[in-house]
Subunit: 643 residues, 2 copies
């Protein structure tokens, strides 16, 4: 056994014992040290760099580490084996990929306004925001020596009369406190629960003047980020909102790597623990605390997530999803309880899963489609949710077609040498002066924050600007020279956004030809998916009348630049709408409204899924889209007009 | 803090730290040292004697400890406070009251024979032993690129077709393994679950040739002893049987003391843990291991227990049961799941509670009444379950009346100076020579076992024989002199069953006037309950045509002696039937047979409950019954004929 000490730029060392030849990334995971490995540790992404300070690691140099850096101690955790006691330094950048849990401040009203607007358009389409949850004060006769009916029967009969139901279920969680609650309140109590036809499922019993709301939770489990809201089931009022990085990120940035990891021994549990124990439990508890409610008051939960995330969340085998013939364990499944997946909630709370419709088009998209409102218009509309996977729905009130493509982690800063998530220090927007080639950018964080890296929206801007300024060619090759066009430590041509003395880390912030190539393939995947989907209908991009862009990744997105690089169809800018986190908003609608839930089920049933990987012509479309903006420049007339 | 060391006659010392002035009995409970305190530590029973070996205890002498014994270090744990480091010796007798967990050997066929006989009489009355659990092999088409239905839907459709149901619920516990189970078995699997009208609740999915039975568990939770059987739900075959002392015993021998303890802070959890975690979980797991089945194969559990035991098992407030107007939380309650009470079983397994009908007539009696068969005869029959509480049902096919009386722990050796449970060293039967006054007895245990004390059946015999031999009067006073009539260490008149050199403990085994008085009150409670119940119908004991005696306590009972002491009505001996553990047999019938369950519900609905404590005349009947055999000798004509 050797001792491994992890040293951080901020915070205390963490020490753990490791076996001889144990993989350093695995050791870090055991020690709960966050080192991002978007590629799941196969050596391809180069994100898991650490610096060896003392001792020895068996660790070959790879293309991600220059000779100079190797000499300075830099190693990839994923291909390092422990062969002595070691001290390794974990740089901030190694875990910048992982966003922190935070709850939102609702006092400004901004968050609430966004929700209300989304809800309003759904309401206008005739979907009422009502549900089957009931809160009622029930008064009973107090028992006497002549009226000795047991407590449960007394309450059941009173509920049957008051709610006009024929059956009442009293769960164990209520019965254990029932005698004392009835007596402390002189047999007049508030009962909350769920009506289901002629049945009533009692869920809580409390004092008659108890003003705690009946709560619902809506959760968007993104591959990268998890977002959730707590809401009052009676009024729809937002009570808390929170977000956190998906704890599974350390097992891979994309769904494929996570499925592979989940298929290893103990993997299902590891992946489920990462999302449930590490991510959702603390997030929900923090939200409940913000709103000052106990978990027994959470009566319903809706989860919108892609098919893989649903499988890993539930803890079932996901491997058949990724291997031919691509069969998931479920699309729709209505028997899940919060307790089954250890979510903090009432013992009887159910978990509504927004329905999946294909291996790679899941509940996030069916729920999001509801909010896009494309099903309620004559306009031929394109709804795209831009995340680690790009999911696309095209149609109108008459039909809906959908497909998914793997954009990879580039939009979230993965596969990009200085890429990072949209957190403090990330360049989120950029312009470049055509003359001087000098950049100006805005950086996430407080005033004076120096750049650490580039997040997705920043990358779109940088590439669009490099292309507009003639610094790179349509193929992404550097074609101008100047102070900021240089070579990075690995010998690749690059553009320097910030020199070492201008950056937070004391190292250059750059974008190199490999990064640009990776990004072009990502945007090419999106655009070719759009084209292929349209072609399957004998249509082309000129048919698109409106485009709705959703996704956490999309919030800072510059639509003009997105068109300029050939990611989105070249339609008028006022035809683009950014609709925020449609998955979360859809989950909110589903937990609040039984009609919304029915509508999503209906949309899912009617949606046709096109599997791109088996569609002829997709690869050709993809190859053609791997240029700036496209090999067929006629598709992007507005780019020709660029000044 | 002081260190307390418990030293045992057998086994290693147990050490624990205690606060100054902490109660020694509480300290023992924390250290998991079994010291019986049938009176729940109020100083009345004298059972919790320990011997101080080193150090000091603040502990006054009580009537339970002679001066000589006090000088030798004997103390009552319940009134001792720790004031220094101490070593105390815990004698075997202090925990003899607690019976050990054991599983039965079914290979001899004897246990099976008893069950079959009980079941047979119920079957003969037209109650079929069938239930809604189904096991079926389901074959599906394997998915292809052209047939991409998800696993759950594929299985649901196949089950709907095969079982002709309209809805199928697939629980989380099944879904998590469904993809791998289906693929490992080429989409041909064995499905087990429960049919409920047009619904099917799936519970397990396994290989098609899996021969593991679908299992049910029947449990009798007695105040003193817990007994359980594991059975094959399809065939009724007994797979395992086990018994254990009810772990709650250390909180009091009778239901009242347990309710009082449960009402103290943290008490509900303590009492529930004692029965669930300490008693049922290890007992059931041992049985599952005997039968080599995993807990997910246990699909249904039935519990028969008195009203208090039901409440403490479920973990709800029992205090209203014992205080006016005596209202239980439930009589019937059909929503309990095994997981609610942490019983090892399938995640969807329900717990059937045999219905209670009054504060002191519970599911053990309603289930037992089914097995007594008194509801299927014209004979006016008396069914009595003789335990810590005595419960009585009187009637025939036309009516059923019931009541309960508190006999106290005397039948189980409580409240008797040398009393003990029916375990090794207990005198279980006794005769006394009228001339010499010398006793002969049979002792539980291997050949050569010396006596330690007296169990219930032994006490009945000793008192009947002392009375028959004219050694004690009808009031229980000693009226003859002789070698064996003496005074015990506390100065009470007593009869010496075994002198110090004849006993296992090296101390006299005696029965004194206080013991006899306690016992006469216990048998008086039983007989006067019978009389009062009959009187409420304008009947008397001469109307009783048959008497069915049940209860673990009753197994070694001598019916003639029970009549001689005036506990049972003086009817012909061939009119008595001992029917064993009718509560357990009834629970077995209920878990195996839906019709038996309905019949018990029907019996419970039709049974009239008479609350003795509020019935005028009961106290007079009781006073009159506190003689040997009775103040009214005419009630016991056969006693007059005693030689």
């Amino acid at each position: 056994m050797f001792q491994v000490s992890f040293r951080f730029e901020k915070g205390e060392d963490r020490n753990i014992f490791a076996a001889e030849n144990e993989n350093l990334l695995e050791v870090a995971r055991k020690a709960n040290v966050a080192i991002d490995a978007p590629c799941s540790g196969n050596g391809s992404c180069g994100k898991c760099k650490v610096r060896l300070v003392e001792g020895e690691l068996d660790s070959p140099r790879t293309r991600h580490i220059s000779e100079e850096d190797y000499a300075a101690g830099w190693r990839l955790s994923c291909n390092s084996r422990v062969v002595s006691d070691v001290v390794v330094e974990v740089p901030d950048i190694a875990s910048a990929y992982k966003s922190r849990m935070k709850t939102a401040d609702l006092s400004t009203g901004e968050e609430v306004r966004i929700f209300n607007a989304a809800e309003e358009s759904v309401r206008e389409a005739g979907i009422s925001f009502t549900n089957d949850f009931v809160s009622a004060v029930i008064a009973m006769d107090e028992p006497t020596l002549d009226d000795t009916m047991p407590d449960n029967e007394r309450l059941e009969r009173a509920l049957m009369a008051e709610l006009e139901v024929e059956f009442v279920s009293i769960p164990h969680s209520v019965l254990v406190h029932l005698p004392s609650t009835l007596r402390e309140n002189s047999f007049r109590v508030r009962c909350c629960g769920k009506r289901d036809g002629d049945r009533f499922q009692l869920m809580t019993v409390s004092a008659p003047d108890d003003a705690t709301p009946m709560c619902g939770v809506a959760i968007d489990i993104g591959t990268t980020t998890v977002t959730a809201v707590l809401t009052d089931l009676a009024t729809g009022k937002l009570l808390a909102k929170g977000s956190a990085g998906n704890g599974q990120i350390r097992y891979g940035a994309d769904v494929i790597n996570r499925i592979i990891e989940s298929s290893r021994p103990g993997g299902k549990k590891r992946l489920q623990d990462a999302i449930v124990k590490e991510t959702l439990q603390p997030l929900l508890r923090a939200m409940y605390q913000d709103a000052n409610i106990s978990e027994e008051r959470v009566l319903s939960i809706c989860v919108a997530a892609n098919t893989t995330m649903n499988h890993l969340f539930v803890g079932t085998d996901a491997d058949p999803v990724r291997t031919e013939p691509y069969i998931p364990a479920f699309f729709r499944w209505n028997d899940l309880k919060a307790r089954d997946v250890r979510l903090p909630a009432n013992s009887e709370a159910g978990v509504i899963l927004a329905p999946n419709i294909g291996s790679y088009v899941g509940g996030d998209i069916t729920a999001g489609t509801l909010m896009s409102m494309i099903w309620n218009t004559d306009e031929l509309s394109l709804f795209i949710d831009l995340g680690t996977n790009g999911e696309i729905v095209f149609g109108n009130r008459d039909f809906l077609m959908s497909c998914a493509c793997s954009a990879g982690p580039a939009f979230e800063g993965g596969d990009i040498s200085c890429g990072m998530r949209a957190t403090d220090g990330a360049i989120e927007a950029c312009t470049i002066d055509r003359e001087t080639m000098e950049p100006s950018f805005s950086i996430i964080g407080e005033a004076g924050q120096k750049p650490i890296g580039l997040c997705g929206s920043g990358i779109i801007d940088v590439i669009a600007e490099l292309f507009r300024c003639g610094i790179i060619s349509a193929k992404g090759q550097f074609v101008r020279e100047g102070r900021r066009v240089s070579q990075d430590a690995n010998g690749f041509d690059c553009y320097v956004l910030a020199f070492a003395d201008e950056s937070e880390t004391g190292r250059n912030v750059t974008i190199n030809t490999v990064d640009i190539d990776n990004f072009i393939r990502a945007k090419g995947a999106i655009f070719s998916a759009i084209c292929t989907l349209l072609k399957s209908l004998d249509m082309d991009v000129s048919c698109v009348e409106h485009m709705y862009v959703a996704g956490g990744i999309g919030s800072g997105i510059n639509m003009r630049n997105s068109v300029r690089i050939g990611m989105f169809p070249d339609i008028e800018l006022d035809r683009f709408s950014y609709i925020g986190n449609s998955s979360l908003n859809g989950a909110y609608a589903m937990v609040m409204s039984d009609q919304a839930r029915d509508k999503v089920e209906e949309l899912a049933q009617s949606m046709t899924y096109v599997e791109l990987s088996t569609t002829p012509g997709y690869m050709d479309e993809f190859m053609a889209a791997c240029f700036l903006p496209h090999t067929n420049a006629e598709l992007f007339p507005s780019c020709a007009e660029m000044e």
